[in-house]
Symmetry: C2
Subunit: 73 residues, 2 copies
């Protein structure tokens, strides 16, 4: 999906979440989308270093840890 970053999507972006651990070294960035009128789910979308985008489970401990690690570095 190559939508411009500045476009605000009006629907959910994720149809499911990737359940396996992804090492932080393969994560280029993580996009957090709060729930809202556009989508009832909190969405966490990681862009990997190879350009792929994967949806992560916001409640998974390893996902929270990766976000904390990014912020604390």
């Amino acid at each position: 999906k190559a939508v411009p970053r500045s476009v605000i999507e009006l629907r959910c972006q994720c149809v499911g979440t990737h359940s396996k651990f992804i090492h932080p070294k393969f994560i280029h960035n993580v996009n957090l989308i709060p729930s809202g009128p556009h989508c009832k789910n909190v969405e966490v979308i990681a862009t990997l270093t190879d350009g792929r985008e994967v949806c992560l489970e916001p409640t998974a401990p390893w996902v929270k840890l990766i976000i904390k690690t990014i912020l604390d570095k």
Copy 2:
């Protein structure tokens, strides 16, 4: 800046950070970019509900709180 979301930028995105508190209701999403060869800084870019993008300070307590709030909702 309307670069495709899937493009991986090879430089820092932020030239400075917005220092004032932004209420979560005005935040559409938050993008976390770890430091790396492309940029020595951790970057936190919020897209506001009006489409503007603002860079936030990753170490600011209110920024960490907003991220926690998004994940815990």
